[in-house]
Symmetry: C2
Subunit: 257 residues, 2 copies
């Protein structure tokens, strides 16, 4: 249980990681731990002990129904108890917790809706998985209300940033493109794997800062995250999006089973 | 205690109110409850029962050390338990909790530091007291690191918005001015009381959308919030700010003891 004065609860002061467990393994565990450690700096928190994180994760997995083959493990590293107000406690006592839930592999494509809520790229939090994810919740809610599955978020300058719970890529003129991290984008682990897979194969891939008009006429649009890998987008704001065989190829390249 | 899958903890999905308790009373209780109720709409949550909130508040106050004369009561109304992910649960089961802490009356003036983190006025959350207050925490941290007491936040258009934990007012050409709510500003209860006190007395007061350059040459600058009332600003970004006797007058007008 979480203490009622935990700054993760009262202020969203903390970080999380969502890790895919499949084939009996916590996928890309070192990358998740490295990102969590790096994020602590921005939030003025000491980094968690990776072994303690793994124990918590295993404990949460052990409570899953027998026969679960694929699960989402969530590690929370919150700033812990603190006095009233915004100021950091003199001696931070962060709190570690974990939960796990069955997570069937996703199928099919995604309908995207551009959110009116912008990604606040002026905040370091826009590049982190923080316990203050309310803008993402509200953007997703807008998308659902519009009959879509997920929200596309632009940043405060109107440039393409990411989805509410995924990074975004598109293909145009044969070039694979994704927003730069300084657009206010999470340094996604699957995002990094896609970039690496493309580079290794010598495929044209670039990180860009561009407006949404650049998606017009794209040859493919897709989302990436740790739980669902690569997912093609079929519709953006009610308009059909072209389907590229390259998206399927990339999905296979970064698949975790 | 808070459940580890409470969306207030995992996503910052929820609201809070900070209420001054002094002279044996919860000050401006109806206004706080009205604001909390109004905010629920934006977050897709049912409103809490005001009587239940008051019981929680009284329970938290009862646990304070004997002889406490002045306290901050915090009511949390979080979206409650939910399945993994951003989507709202089909049947929201919000969770009510409250804490209380002694809160001595504040004295003296405030040194402000303009934050690099902008207030995300594109999000409804910018106008609410939400459990996703991390940008405010980070802005306050920047201010402390710069040797100041509090952060001044601009919005994404570079207009003056508010402090990390207060509304902001200034006096220029004899006119009392404060940012409009659509600048990305909490509808502060003390802010409303200052506006009302000025209007009642026929004092010139306006809500504006302006850049920070308009603070240059101001005759006074002050902050307002429920716990500390009106507090004069002495320094902004290292530059001294003129002191107006009007700020003291306003402080007395909205004082809660």
């Amino acid at each position: 249980m979480i203490a009622p004065d935990d700054r993760g609860f009262t202020l969203g002061h903390g970080l999380f990681e969502t890790i895919l467990w499949s084939g009996g393994g916590l996928r890309h565990w070192p990358a998740h731990m490295a990102r969590l450690t790096k994020g602590c700096e921005a939030l003025g928190m000491p980094a968690p002990d990776a072994e303690a994180c793994e124990r918590e994760a295993r404990g949460a997995l052990a409570a899953l129904p027998d026969g679960t083959m694929r699960a989402a493990v969530r590690i929370n590293w919150s700033a812990g108890p603190g006095a009233r107000g915004l100021d950091m406690p003199a001696v931070p006592q962060p709190a570690l917790s974990a939960t796990a839930a069955p997570a069937p592999a996703s199928r099919g494509s995604v309908r995207l809706h551009t959110s009116t809520i912008r990604r606040n790229d002026t905040s370091p939090a826009s590049r982190l998985k923080t316990l203050a994810y309310l803008d993402n919740v509200l953007a997703r809610g807008e998308a659902r209300a519009a009959g879509a599955d997920e929200a596309l978020m632009l940043n405060t300058a109107g440039q393409i940033a990411c989805a509410a719970a995924a990074n975004v890529f598109w293909i145009k003129g044969g070039v694979i493109q994704t927003p730069r991290l300084d657009c206010g984008v999470l340094d996604g682990i699957t995002r990094g794997r896609v970039l690496e897979a493309c580079s290794e194969r010598g495929w044209a891939v670039v990180e860009v800062r561009v407006g949404i008009e650049k998606l017009r006429g794209c040859e493919g649009l897709f989302l990436t995250n740790s739980l669902q890998g690569v997912r093609p987008v079929s519709v953006l704001d009610g308009e059909p999006i072209a389907q590229s065989p390259l998206v399927e190829t990339l999905a296979a390249l970064v698949a975790n089973g």
